[in-house]
Each structure stands twice: as C-alpha cells, then as structure tokens.
Symmetry: C2
Subunit: 271 residues, 2 copies
C-alpha cells in the first residue's frame, strides 16, 4: 500500500512525511524485520536486500543495527530474528485487557459448540487475529495471534467493516481489490456493500466458503462501553462436518451470547 | 542492560556501535514502541518522552513517524499502538519452524493430561513464550505469546539453560541475579548449577512452586535434526489440584513423548 496515497491516512497530516529521510530509514528497518517469514526464517545479506528492496550496503547497515540491539542474530553468514522482537508490542497487544477478559468466555464457547473460536480487529483492509481458542480437531488453516486475512471475505472482516461509516467501509472494500478465492467468494462491490448493510442490520454475519472451500464461519461484534465495535468474535468450522444451516441453527445463539458477555465485561472494566 | 558491556554481545563485533547516530535513532524508535504496555496502553506525548528517556521534540518526531507508518494511532492527544505492530512479532514467530508443527501435538498433550501446555525459547536470562495451549481451567498466571519469565526458576528455563555449555549457563545464572520469588525458590548459584547438571542428565526438569506459590511445572527439550535444543515444552498445573509427585507419575511420559514427536517432525521437515 502506498502510504501517501492511502485514503485512510491523509497526506496533509502534520509531522513527518514519507519522503522524510528519518521516516524512510525507520520504515526500512521495520521492513527488514518483516522480510523474515516461515518461507525465509534464515537469510543471507543478499536475500534480505532483495526481499526488502534495499541495496546490500543499506541492508547490511540495518541488519548490523538490529544485531547490535539484540533483535537479530547471525552465524556470520545467515541472519535470523531473536525472540526480543516479541517485546515490540506483541507481548503487550497479545495481553490487552480485553483478551484476558475474553479468553475464558471464548474457551467456554469453543467447548460448548465444539468448534474453534477467534477474535480479531481490523487493520486497513485486513483482519488481524488477536486471540484464538482452537478445538482439538485439526483445521486446514492454522491461524495464530498476529495472522492476517482479507476482511472482505471473512465473517469477522464483514462485521468490522459493517461497523465503519459506510463511505469508509466502501473505500476499504475498493482498496482491498477483492478476488475470488473460491467459487463462492463475493467480489462485486455492490454485492459486498449489500452484505455489509445486511450484517449491520442483523448484528452478525455468516460467511460460507468464501475464504476457503469447506470453511464456514460466523461472527458477531464486541462493543465497548460507548457502543463502539472494538473487535469481532467468531466460530469457524468445516462444512462437511457442520453445514452453514446447522451452524446457524445451533451456534448463533451461543456466539451472540458470548459476544454480549465479553462486551459487558469490557463495560464493567471501564473500557 | 548496557549493550556494549554485555558478556553475550562482544563490543568488538564489527559494524555499527551504540554511539552511531543511525543506530541510536533506530533504537529510540523501538524504545518508543516498547514504552506502551498494559500499564500505559494510551500515552500523551509527555508520557512517551518520560518513559523512553527522550526530549518532547524527539518523542514527537518518532511518534509521528510511527503514525505515518501505521504502527501508532492518535486521537490528537493520546497515542496508542495499532495491531500492525503484531506483524513484527508475527514475522519472528512464523519464522520458527516449530511454531506450526508443534501446535497439534501440544493440543493433544494438553487434552490428554488436562493441564496447560506451552513452548518457550531462551533470550538472555529470560524465557519467552512462543506458543501456548491452555485448558479451560483458569490459571492464576495468564501468559500470552511473547510473555517473559526468568529462566532460573522455571522448568523451561532450566531445560534451556542446561542445554548451553556450562560456563555460558553459569554466566546467565549470575547475570539473572536470582531472587526468592517464593519460599521454595532456589537462588544459590551452586545449587542452581547442580539442578542444571541433574536436568541435563535426566533429560527433563520439574520445578515445584519456585516461581509462584501453588504452581508446578515440568519441561522437556525439543531438539532439531542436529540434536541442538531449540525450544522447551512444558506442562504446568496447580499444586492443590495435582501435586508434583502425581504430576511426575502421570504426566512425565506424555510430556516426553510429545517433545520427541515434535523433535521428530522438525527433523523430517529438515530443521
């Protein structure tokens, strides 16, 4: 995403702009961190440079900086991240008061319905998982805290988009450039807008195999004391085990109840 | 920790040194991220400056940079982190081969023994949680991924320290400055060294209420293909429900088996 062109972050904001050299260096440092992944857990200098779009000299400078600060380790040839990276907000965000409150409720829900239960927040055009309680059944998708999925084709994403002012939701749908991930994925902007309106009206959302064949999920909003939607809660299951119809009949009430319980706990805690 | 003086990070390493202005700016940016916590989730400019030891002007520059990059949001007065921060930790977690492999095995183990199960790695004198499968019983300690605990008084910490060359393990024990967290905590360096030797010999470790009254935990190492210990796996429970003796009798074998299974999966994956 081109930051300066984003409709969500006006370029007229005061302070540093993307052209600022300090912002650029910092952004590049964070890009180097993000260049490590399951596909590239250990990288040479050249690999880091290629993946983060930096010169070898630039990548070397940042890697050695990260190494000096203890965020990267190296055997001389390969670089990898250290667990100190988790100090950068991950530990904090994954322990936000809401998640402590929500966890026992979500465990109760997952136990009652026998399916995995997750919570997510919106970031741009994606949802980001902040908590997950899985059942012992092995799912085709393993999603840990911090994982991202597109908002337009997920039940939590639609619940979170539906909570935005309509023009903002539309802008994000457009920016996401929806594509068909399965033969069921709704990608037409008008159809998606109608789905959001429907979700807003009924207060929950069911998505049937639009993200992945066989995966059905249902989500409801979690509100803070002021009524603002702060996160979404979902249940997801396999269509060959639990059809969308059965899921709605048997699991919607427990899901709505759990979302309400968490919202009430949040209000009591003063959030 | 003074980086240049750390015995773990020789100051003779090539590359940038802490006095380098680039390193310093980057370090300060990361410090600003770290200044947000459960105690200070929303901060004013002055609070961020005070907590990160920066001038107001310096803190403002970094906060606006982070805001421009989407890692911080502001209502004009207060600043808070956004879920985009989770990308940085996720890059690290998803780069751990163990992360995806271990989860189903850990869920099986937690289900079998009815207690919570976690995996952690060593960072300096701490262990850092990288995966956790909790049971429905509510624990007094809620530890999310990214949480830290001292290595010297935890079962996973002792397993990980025991895997280091002895003089390195001793150096870390000394650097940790062990203190008595309960009346059971072993703090004497010689006694701790013996505990590590014992752990190394028997291949697992039980810690009985040394971190917190009532908390018992048992850990075993996870090895990569070359036999190097890459993480520790544990089960933890409440002493008033499961005594240390019962835990050892009933849960040691499932724990060792799960650790072996994960190690074997790692080897098969080529790690």
């Amino acid at each position: 995403m081109a930051i300066a062109a984003s409709p969500l972050r006006p370029s007229s904001a005061p302070g540093p702009v993307p052209g600022d050299s300090y912002v650029q260096s910092f952004a590049r440092g964070l890009e180097v961190i993000r260049s490590f992944s399951a596909q590239s857990p250990r990288q040479t200098l050249s690999e880091v440079a290629a993946r983060s779009g930096l010169s070898r000299a630039g990548a070397r400078r940042i890697l050695l900086t990260l190494q000096t600060l203890g965020y990267v380790e190296s055997d001389g040839k390969h670089f990898s991240l250290t667990p100190r990276i988790l100090d950068l907000g991950f530990a904090y965000l994954s322990s936000l008061p809401i998640w402590n409150l929500a966890e026992p409720v979500m465990e109760g829900l997952a136990g009652d319905v026998g399916e995995s239960c997750s919570a997510a927040v919106l970031d741009g055009t994606d949802i980001v998982y902040v908590l997950r309680v899985s059942t012992h059944k092995i799912m085709s998708i393993t999603l840990g805290v911090g994982s991202r999925l597109p908002a337009y084709c997920t039940s939590m994403g639609r619940v979170l988009l539906a909570a935005l002012p309509e023009e903002q939701a539309l802008a994000r749908l457009k920016a996401a450039r929806p594509e068909a991930l399965t033969r069921h994925t709704v990608t037409d902007l008008d159809a998606l807008r109608q789905k959001l309106a429907h979700t807003r009206k009924q207060g929950w959302c069911l998505v049937n195999q639009e993200l992945e064949e066989g995966l059905v999920s249902m989500a409801a909003p979690i509100h803070d004391r002021s009524g603002r939607t702060v996160a979404a809660l979902n249940i997801s299951g396999q269509a060959n085990r639990t059809s969308a119809k059965i899921m709605q009949e048997t699991m919607l009430q427990p899901l709505l109840q759990a979302a309400q319980t968490i919202s009430r706990l949040l209000a009591v805690q003063g959030n």
